[in-house]
Every structure is written in structure tokens, then in C-alpha cells.
Symmetry: C2
Subunit: 518 residues, 2 copies
């Protein structure tokens, strides 16, 4: 915990060791080059697997025991079930019963439903979490209660870390809405259908042992096989692997807030004025109410101009699917379905293509899809005067969100952050972000309910929109307007204790999170 600190290329003091492992500090965007070779899990032989292909074992407990579960192992899960996941907690309950200690949990994301993990962190079953620490887990960590240090990675960074051998997964448990006895599995069919299983790809490819847990066993061969059974050691059939109503966030709706609707409209108008909405363009928008609204404004413009987007990236939902089925979008490159319309569309239409952090986000690959997207719409908890942004902590210093694909999508051609000028009377534009998650050089435009700030690096956008009549201001001006109303944001107080590291997409440490002083 008292590891040496070093100032990285973003002027942030970061630890040179996390959980006893040496870390490379952030060296600037595109500066660090990895050395060595991709990780390879141990070689195995078909002679040690059932020749009839039937890999079923009695239950998860037996699968974990057969996988050699023991102290200190790294156990991975995926988050396609979101807040309806029933598997992660069960794994660690079993580990506790078996008296196993010091595990590392390596989820692709965590949700409120994972609050029971806290008791396993307290009892010593889990040493630390590498992955997003949302809600209660974030609070637990920020207050200095986790024995080890958290490691936050983007979706792409998680794939990169596994591929590069920074994280060696001992046992991956892949909850699968549909599977055959061989472990070929998908997320598009079955009572717990969640769309796809892309977040579990690295786990399947690189983990030493892979367990598939399903509540919908189908005869061999399960098609499509988003997870290939040839990577799978054991299959467990359960009554229920997730709570369907919570798997997809069915409540995702277009915002009704007048301020947010205005921000959405302003964002769409800006893109239009800048000439970004054109035949064959591409965009990525999230599932939040403002993003959904922006998507709708985009489709209005496309319909009016009779133009078509080549592809849309990102989580799918009924609005995106409607535009796709109307023919306004050529392809959906989908990393995560957010509702049942997304699941249905992916099941029915070959051009609603499931993707993975490998195809879309892995920075240690031969290119990825993220950098090919024309317009990227993202959120942030804070933005500073250098356009640096934060998504993991709030201005009170608490770790409350994961990175998700946020860092990865910053490589899009034009990155726009529609953010309110303040939240609960706390300004969003600050002098310096509490935690640096995205370097300002990759963030092009900030849209607020009182105006738009363009990153001075984007002279092209400034030029293109200067006669647009849009309320374009400097970021300082936007900050001043907010502070005139709310006053300056108060800085939270921290101890010296580093509770978590924030990785950049290349595995270097871009910032650390410190314990909140309470």
C-alpha cells in the first residue's frame, strides 16, 4: 500500500505497484508499446475430455471443485445479466463453504445485486476485485475497507489485460442463457436471453478452466455458438441463472427532462452543423435517456435528408432497432443488448451483429472498431478545463461507476459529452477532475444546457460550426456560468491510501483512487 508513487504523462501521481505487481505509468495516448507475446493457457488433450461431448457435472460446486478451486485464484464472471445476475454471488458462497480464501474476483462489471460480495471481502474469501466497483462495492472500497486494491479497466482494457497475461484467469464461470452439453452457448435464446456473451470471450479463450452455467440446455449443436464449447471444461445446468426482468434494463426511456431534451437537440444540431451526419456515417450512443434522445434526433435528420448510417455501434435498444428495421442504419455492431427488442433483433437479423471487446475495443490488437466510429456520444461525472473527464468517481471522491467501454470509444472520430452544467447543485465542469479516466485530447465537444464548448485542438469543428448560430462558448465560460449559480465545486478530502488503480486502454496506470476521508 505504501508503494512508490510516480508522476505519469498526465501529471497524475500513480502507484508503481498495485497488489504487489509492478505497473507501468501512463505514457500518453498511443505512446506505450507492449512487448512479449499473447498469453497462452495450458495445453490440454481431448484424451482427458469425454469423447461423447457431454461435459455436464452435477452442480456449480462440483464444477468449481473439479476446476481445482483453491486459495488465491482469480475467478471471472461476465455482466450480461446486469442487475439480474445470480451466479457471481453463488460462486463465492460456495468458496466460503469450502473454506477457500484470498480469491480475486474479475467481473466484466458489477451491479447493485452484487452487494453480498461485501461479506466475502470482509471474511477474507475475496481479497480484492479487478473490475468495476459500482454502488455499494465502490463505497466499501472508497472507505478503505477492501484488503487488496481495486483495478478498474475499460471493457477493451479487460480483454487486453487477459490477452497480454496481466490477468491470468484460473476459473471462468460463464452464465449462458442457452447451451448444449458440450458448452457451445449463446445469449439470444432461452428464458434468460440477454442477447450476446461477448464480455465472456476473453474468459473462454484464455482462462485455465471454463465452466458454463445454463438454465436452457439444448441438444448439440447449440447454434449460434457465441461461446465455443471447445474452450469449455464443464457444463452446469441450473433452474435459473438470472432474473430476466433485471437482465435487460427495460425501463430505459427517452428523457422527459426539458434541460436534457434541449442538450440532446443541441448535440444533434451540432453534429449536423459540423457536417458529421452524412450518407454512410456511423455513430455510437449509450442507453441513457439523453443518448436515446440524441439517437432519435439523428434518425429524424436522416429520415428528412434521406440518408442512411453505415453502422451504429454500442448497446442496442428498441429505438436503435426501430431505426435499423426502418432501414436508416445498415448494421448494428452490438456489444450489449439493453432490452428485449435488442435481443429479438439480434436473433432475427444477421446484420444485427454481436461483437466483443476483442473486435470493438482491444487496444493491443490490429486495429479495432472504436476508432472507426464518426460520432461518439458519452457521459461523464466531471470534465475539467483541459477537457479531461472522469466517469468512475463523483466530485465527493467516491468510486461509484465502472469504466465500461467509455475509454475505448474515446478513439472515435468525434467524441461528444453532453453533460448538465451541474448535478444536485454541484458543477460538472471543474478545474481538475477528481479522477482522470479520459485524456482531454480525445474529447472533442462538451454540450451543456447553456452552450457548447469545442476542444481547441479541433480547429476543424470550430471552423465548421462558427456560422451555425449555435451557442458555442469556451469551456471556461461554461464553468463560470455554472459557478455563478452554484459556487465552486468543493474538493473532497482523501487519505494517502491508494484503494484502486485506473488503467488506460493499454494497461498503463492513468490515475489512482484514494481512500475518502470520513
Amino acid at each position: 500500500m505504501s508503494a512508490e508513487m510516480i508522476k505519469n504523462a498526465a501529471n497524475r501521481w500513480v502507484a508503481t505497484e498495485i497488489n504487489g505487481k509492478k505497473q507501468a505509468p501512463f505514457q500518453g495516448v498511443g505512446k506505450y508499446r507492449p512487448s512479449g507475446r499473447k498469453y497462452g493457457p495450458p495445453l490440454v488433450s481431448c484424451a482427458d475430455f469425454p469423447s461423447n461431448g457431454d461435459k455436464r457435472v452435477a452442480d456449480l460446486r462440483e464444477a468449481l471443485i473439479r476446476s481445482g478451486l483453491r486459495d488465491g485464484m482469480t475467478i471471472s464472471t461476465h455482466h450480461h445479466f446486469r442487475d439480474g445476475d445470480l451466479i457471481a454471488n453463488e460462486i463465492f458462497d460456495i468458496a466460503a463453504e469450502l473454506g477457500v480464501k484470498d480469491l480475486i474476483w474479475f467481473p466484466s462489471a458489477s451491479f447493485s445485486c452484487h452487494a453480498p460480495i461485501i461479506k466475502h471481502l470482509e471474511s477474507g474469501v475475496i481479497h480484492h476485485i479487478e473490475g468495476s466497483m459500482n454502488g455499494p462495492l465502490g463505497r466499501f472500497t472508497s472507505e478503505g475497507n477492501m484488503r487488496g486494491q481495486g483495478v478498474l479497466r475499460s471493457h477493451g482494457g479487460r480483454y487486453q489485460a487477459v490477452q497480454d497475461g496481466e490477468v491470468v484467469i484460473d476459473i471462468a464461470v460463464i452464465a449462458a442463457p442457452t447451451s448444449d452439453f458440450f458448452g457451445n452457448a449463446n445469449g439470444v435464446e432461452g428464458p434468460s436471453a440477454c442477447g450476446l456473451l461477448g464480455f465472456a470471450l476473453a474468459d473462454a479463450q484464455f482462462a485455465h478452466k471454463v465452466i458454463v452455467a445454463t438454465d436452457n440446455l439444448v441438444p448439440f449443436p447449440c447454434i449460434p455458438w457465441q461461446i465455443q464449447g471447445n474452450y469449455v471444461d464443464y457444463v452446469v445446468v441450473k433452474d435459473k441463472i438470472g432474473i430476466p426482468e433485471k437482465i435487460v434494463s427495460g425501463t430505459t426511456q427517452i428523457t422527459k427532462s426539458p434541460d436534457r431534451l434541449y442538450m440532446a437537440e443541441l448535440t444533434a444540431k451540432f453534429c449536423d452543423a459540423a457536417g458529421l451526419i452524412r450518407e454512410g456515417f456511423s455513430f455510437q450512443a449509450g442507453a441513457g435517456g439523453t443518448s436515446l434522445s440524441i439517437g432519435n434526433f439523428f434518425t429524424d435528420i436522416m429520415r428528412q435528408r434521406k440518408i442512411k448510417a453505415a453502422f451504429a455501434r454500442g448497446g442496442s435498444n428498441k429505438y436503435l432497432v426501430e431505426a435499423f428495421e426502418e432501414g436508416l442504419i445498415g448494421t448494428i455492431l452490438d456489444g450489449q443488448t439493453f432490452d428485449l427488442d435488442g435481443v429479438r433483433s439480434m436473433r432475427e437479423n444477421i446484420r444485427h451483429q454481436d461483437t466483443s471487446p476483442f473486435t470493438s475495443y482491444n487496444y493491443h490488437g490490429k486495429g479495432n472498431f472504436a476508432s472507426m466510429v464518426d460520432i461518439v456520444i458519452l457521459g461523464a461525472t466531471e470534465v475539467d478545463l483541459n477537457f479531461n473527464a472522469n466517469v468512475v468517481t463523483h466530485s465527493d471522491g467516491y468510486l461509484l461507476h465502472g469504466i465500461g467501454g467509455w475509454q475505448n470509444t474515446l478513439f472515435g472520430k468525434t467524441v461528444i459529452l453532453p453533460v448538465p452544467l451541474f448535478r444536485d447543485r454541484i458543477p460538472v465542469i471543474v478545474d481538475d477532475v477528481t479522477t482522470l479516466v479520459g485524456p482531454g485530447e480525445l474529447i472533442d465537444v462538451i454540450v451543456t444546457e447553456r452552450g457548447i464548448a469545442i476542444n481547441p485542438l479541433r480547429e476543424d469543428l470550430i471552423e465548421a460550426t462558427k456560422k451555425s448560430g449555435l451557442p458555442i462558448k469556451s469551456i471556461e465560460q461554461l464553468q463560470a456560468e455554472a459557478e455563478a449559480i452554484c459556487g465552486k465545486a468543493q474538493k473532497p478530502s482523501f487519505t494517502d491510501k491508494v484503494v484502486a488503480a485506473v488503467k488506460w486502454v493499454d494497461g498503463t496506470v492513468i490515475d489512482v483512487v484514494r481512500q475518502v476521508e470520513i
Copy 2:
């Protein structure tokens, strides 16, 4: 060449070194266990790839130069274009122009169209071939003219060798009937459509540099992406990558020979009598005239009994597709399309699933599909009294065929070899096979035009068919009948020089091929 010889578990004298590399001798079926970890190619960074995703370079020459082509490298190609391939020869013509020497060609198979490779073997551009050496290349090798030693592997063994790091591919050139500029590619669309690209999977995943050559560039994203662009370094657009008429062997027809038709009928009757044709069974049959005919007998029985096969494996053709579309087969797990009906069906029907040597055949995996198949129909050039079989050399000692998926499919539940008792008056059943490719313990039944021999190990089959009225005989009896007509097969004469090694599915050496004495 004068490496030490050792007797392996199949009583064959094999070289302990091939091309200067140490070799493990065959240790028996399922006995050898690999150690170590899967191979990982060098780590790369997106910072070194075009952010707009456009990886096109001017031509194949430029792509090879940028890939660092130099003496001693291993260059891989796939054989989905079969005898219509235009790429492999061009690669080595370019290498010759550039003055590069001592390359290793690592194709997934070779065809007669690759006869021009001989001049590059003679001139020193290519040192040796690791892959099937068919027709003219086999003759060239058998006569001792190749500087290095050939290494013959099954399709699964090729994947295994790459995955295990036995063969490190420096540059893979993947000819693709359709691709986008990022390298996402498939074989189902385009003027040179060949169905799938599964034989290039290992090459994409593990090669240090990957070049996609296409004659049908489509806008990003190319869907389906049988080859993922995230593995691809360069894309080359060409006028023509293959000769469509030769890509698919459109001449494949049901046999009209009365002897072969009788063998086919006998095989189907045997399967039926043994109770193997039942609801939910599975089978794999090749593209030869006899195999096609057996498939037709199977479907007649299925139609009559109103039963359905769960899946059929193997190369697809119009007969298999007809049965599939009639609803007699639930799924086609297809490793290689043999005609345009196969290509069309794969494009149109999600349950005509493309597979790869990874899913179907890799023996160093967590199971594979081959062992799950109920009935496997294969050919052979020779079978001996212990049911050992040969597919790579003829009784004259010449190396004339590749192994293909033959060794891999031996792991099926019942393996049947319909073979004529003699070919050109040379008996097929011999005392000892010229080259051991498949151990007799995995070969269950030999069907000839004069009777059926069941491997004594399969007491269950002997029992099940003893009252069937079928002409079941001992293999010795079948041999005696053939020899009564043709006389004993003459043994070919060999020098001591080992010209090629034959690998078993686990990478061990099951036999070697010696220079033919002429």
C-alpha cells in the same frame, strides 16, 4: 537426414528429428500429453494500425514486403479454393523475384494447380513443405528431390501444431472471396465464393503477420466475418483470387460403378443392421462417389423410417443439402463446401454452420466434434490385417495424398472404410500398410464388394450383425479372396532417406515416408 531412428508404439521406425527439430514418437492413441502453454503471437498496438480501419496496400508484393518477408520464414495459405487457387503460386513467384530463399510453405492442403511450386523448390526459394503433398509435389518429394523433409498433418493436427507452437507462421496469406478494408472476411459471398474459411482460422489467430487477399471488397462491416479483421495486418484487393469453376468440385456425382454402388448399399445395410441409423444419430461422409451414394442410402432409410439425423458433419454438397432442406438432417456442421449448393445453403441457413479445425478436429482442445459422430465413412489406399490404414501413399510407395480430416474423424464412434478389394489389380488389403496413417484400433469396419470385415475389438458390432444375413467375413478371408485373383501386393523399394514425416493428431510421429527407389 541421417537422424536417429526409433521404434514408436505402433512398431514403426521413425526419425527422432525432422528438418533439424526434435520429434516425439507416437506413443499410442490418447497416450501422449502435451506440456506447456498455447502459442501466443507477438503483442501489437492499435497505435500502429490505421485508425480509420483501412488496411489496404497496393498489392500482394507490397503486403509481403511490409510483412517483413525474408529468408527462412514460414508462409501459410489455405486450400478452400482447392484446384482453383491463384494465390499460393503468386506468393512464391514474388518471393523469387525478391531473391528470398529457404521458405517453408505451410498450406492446409495442396492441389495439382500447385505444380509450379516445384520450380521454387528446385531453385531454393522454398526449402520444404509442411502440409499435404498431392500429385506432382508428392512425386517430387517421394523421388527425394525436396531439400527439406515434408511434414504431413491432418487438418486437426495442423491447428494443433500452430496452437502448440510447433509451427510458427511468420506470414499467413488468406485468400478471401469477400472482405472489407479492415480484413473482416468470409467465403459465402462474392464471385469466388468457396463457402467458408475455417482452414485459415489458425493462421489468422496465430500468425505474426496476416494478409487478406480478396477480389470482392465490400463496405465495412463485412458480415458474416468468418475471419476477424482484428487479426489482419494488410488487405490486398485483386482482380481474381481463384478460378470459380475449380474452387468447387462441381463434378462430384454419385458413383455409377456397379461394384461401388454395391459397396455403398452394403455399408448402409450394415449400419442399419447394427442399429446405428436411429432417431438423432449423426454421420460424416466424404465427397467421393461411393460416400455420396452411402449418404443417399442413409436418407432413403431415414425417409422410410421417418427418422431424422441430429447432424451431419463434413464437406457439404448438393445431396447433403437436399436431405437437410428436406428436414432429414437437423444441422450440417460443415468444414468445407464441395459445391455451389453447399455455398448457397451455408449462406442462407443458420443451421448449415461453418466449422473449423479448432471446433471439429483439434486434439489438444477441450474435446472436439469428431468424437461425437456416430457413423464415419472414410476411404483408404491400403488397409492391413490389423485394420491399420494408409491414405498418403499408394502401394507403389509414392506420396500422393494429404491426410485431410481423415485421422481426426477416426475418433468417431463407428468408423467404416468402404474400399474395393483391389485397384488396377493391386490388392488393397495388405499384410502391412506401406505408411501407417491410422491405427487399426480406431477402424471398426471394412466394407468391400465381396464382404464386410469387422474389427475383432468391436464385439458389439459383431454381435449386433451376426444374424443380419450380410456377408461378414474375417479380414484375412477378404485378403485371401483378393490375392486369389491378383496375387500378393508387391512391396515397393525404398532407400533409407526419410523424405517426409506423418504426424499423428497429437503432434507425435506415427510414421515416416522414405524415398522411392527408382
